[in-house]
């Protein structure tokens, strides 16, 4: 059974159909990329999975759960983590605090035990810290641990956001343009990290990306979208040479 399943999902904003009867499924352990021109509805698909939008039709299931029945905050509890296209970090908190918020879905303490900071809360905090430190090591974030996000360079923020998503210990990681705004070198780093996230951590990755080098380098399958609908689905090579994709990007058929 596929990990994530979208079936006939349609989303309309008034007269605009942002996502048009879109169906695809992501298998466990693969890296699945969504490509397409601007306005194709790629980020909207992410926002649908995150439950920020309600689809007009269709169904979204994850790991046997009907996501459409869950609250936006409940999606993370099933093991779906995400990053944002324009970086949505907690600006006035340190890198460490940001990553620790990622551990929120594993919170076992309650209001009263936290106010008294009972030994159980302390133990949980040490465990959370331990988990977060492993992610800091994995993403080489050691120099920034106690720095405020507000003063960090763009490239580091991108990595912190991936780290925060990993801190939730997800089954599925949604990366919204992980390489946008990164230098060539940083993009190469990102590529190895995505590879390691899949291989070492066993996390399935669904990403939206424009950088075709990154897409063909790490992804197993690619979905090309235009105007909210599927254009082509297959291996990176198949999609890149698909006539409909060439037409969408270059205008006329060759």
């Amino acid at each position: 059974m596929s990990l994530l399943n979208l079936e006939n999902v349609t989303l309309r904003f008034g007269g605009l159909t942002a996502v048009d009867r879109l169906s695809f499924s992501v298998e466990k352990g693969e890296v699945f990329a969504i490509v397409g021109p601007n306005g194709a509805g790629k980020s909207t698909v992410f926002n649908l999975i995150s439950r920020f939008y309600d689809p007009a039709e269709g169904s979204i299931t994850f790991d046997g759960h009907d996501l459409l029945k869950s609250k936006p905050s409940g999606v993370a509890a099933y093991g779906v983590a995400r990053t944002f296209q324009n970086i949505e970090l907690f600006e006035h908190a340190t890198v460490l605090q940001n990553l620790l918020v990622g551990r929120h879905r594993h919170r076992r303490s309650n209001l009263v035990s936290e106010i008294f900071f009972t030994p159980a809360v302390r133990k949980q905090e040490i465990q959370n810290r331990h988990y977060v430190e492993e992610i800091i090591d994995f993403l080489d974030l050691q120099p920034y641990r106690d720095k405020m996000i507000a003063g960090l360079p763009y490239g580091v923020r991108k990595v912190v956001e991936v780290g925060r998503a990993l801190a939730t210990d997800p089954k599925l990681l949604l990366l919204d343009e992980p390489a946008s705004g990164l230098s060539v070198e940083e993009t190469t780093d990102m590529r190895w990290w995505i590879d390691d996230i899949r291989r070492q951590m066993g996390i399935t990755v669904l990403m939206v990306e424009h950088d075709m080098g990154l897409v063909s380098g790490v992804s197993d399958r690619v979905l090309a979208m235009a105007d909210g609908a599927e254009l082509a689905l297959g291996t990176p090579q198949q999609v890149q040479s698909h006539p409909a994709v060439i037409e969408a990007y270059l205008g006329a058929s060759a």
Partner: protein, 364 residues
């Protein structure tokens, strides 16, 4: 310059950085406990007032400084805490029980109000809570049967384990009571901030969408924050009523709400220190102004009377802070401390914000 080598996660989980910092706070606490022996009755009363304001400030700080929700309605919760404490005491509940219950009642009412009110954002929430402040006045008059209405009420004597605590009769004991409440609230606040709930407050403040994506239930977190905020404010209100001795529908006016909000902005949003620093400004400014009026009067041989001068000065201080030091007094203190710690390597732009980047289009 002190350098702290970290070898244990507990060093980050403990509320103090090292023994030096801990000893400073212990000395401060010792001085606070010894204050009745060091100060005369007038200044002890002033200090007591500052502590009560600081408790109220911490109440609002939870909501505004850490969860990012502005409230202009906290005078209503001060009133609720005050009246429920007094009414419980008058109906025979001992103070040691009535006081905590008054806070809990205020907190629960806060949650009930929060559920609809916190659907609003920013300035709209401020307007909605402003209405609360105005309503509180009318509700106190309408329920005159219990609250005494315009005629007001007098605080009954407080009895703790057979020991009488009275603002005028035993000011030392009343001061220690206030200090005790302040210390307990501060400790609880510190604990909250280093636990997951405190972090989720900050998450909601800085980015609701990503808080949601991390599994934080935004509506619920805001309601909890509002409830805790009201509970602490209720305790401050109860102490305020006992401290004042007499109060009526006009004691907890809209002005108090505004002063409270100004206080935490001047002190420094998002820090516990800010609540205390702001409370000192609020508490000592009127005394300072009347003293300086006397000095100037004595120097020039005239008498100065400027009605509303206090609020004018207060407003100017607030504007100055918003323009020149948005991080408040605590932010300024951090800069001064860093200057001395790094001397002579402090650079002028060290705390300058770097440009912030685009945020994901708001989904609501």
């Amino acid at each position: 310059m002190r350098i702290i080598f970290k070898t244990d996660y507990m060093q980050d989980i403990r509320p103090w950085k090292d023994g030096y910092q801990l000893s400073l706070y212990l000395i401060l606490l010792a001085l606070a406990v010894a204050a009745p022996f060091l100060l005369d009755a007038f200044y002890l009363g002033e200090l007591n007032n500052v502590l009560i304001w600081a408790i109220a400030g911490m109440g609002l700080m939870i909501l505004t400084g850490h969860t990012g929700q502005a409230s202009l309605g906290h005078a209503a919760f001060l009133a609720l805490g005050c009246y429920s404490n007094i009414i419980l005491m008058e109906s025979g509940v001992p103070f040691m029980l009535a006081f905590p219950i008054a806070g809990i009642i205020t907190g629960l009412v806060g949650v009930l109000i929060a559920i609809p009110a916190l659907r609003l954002h920013g300035v709209y929430l401020a307007i909605a809570t402003l209405a609360l402040s105005i309503l509180a006045d009318d509700i106190i008059v309408l329920t005159a049967e219990w609250t005494g209405g315009v005629g007001g009420k007098y605080a009954p004597p407080v009895n703790v384990f057979g020991y009488n605590i009275d603002r005028w009769g035993t000011p030392d004991a009343f001061y220690w009571l206030t200090l005790g409440v302040a210390v307990i609230v501060t400790l609880g606040y510190i604990n909250l901030l280093r636990a997951p709930l405190g972090r989720s407050f900050i998450a909601v403040r800085d980015s609701e969408v990503s808080a949601q994506a991390m599994g934080v239930d935004v509506a619920r977190t805001k309601a909890i924050s509002f409830g805790l905020s009201c509970m602490v404010t209720g305790w401050a209100g109860a102490l305020m009523g006992l401290f004042a001795g007499a109060f009526n529908n006009e004691t907890f006016s809209i002005i108090i709400s505004i002063e409270l909000l100004m206080m935490i902005v001047i002190g420094g949003l998002g820090s516990i220190h800010g609540a205390f620093l702001g409370a000192m400004v609020i508490g000592f400014l009127p005394q300072f102004l009347s003293l300086s009026k006397e000095w100037i009067g004595a120097l020039t041989g005239t008498t100065i009377s400027l009605p509303g001068m206090e609020f004018g000065v207060f407003g100017m201080i607030l504007i100055a802070f918003i323009l020149f030091e948005p991080m408040g007094m605590y932010g300024r203190w951090l800069k001064i401390r860093t200057y001395f710690e790094l001397f002579p390597f402090y650079r002028k732009d060290m705390f300058k914000r770097q440009k912030s980047y685009l945020k994901t289009e708001r989904l609501r």
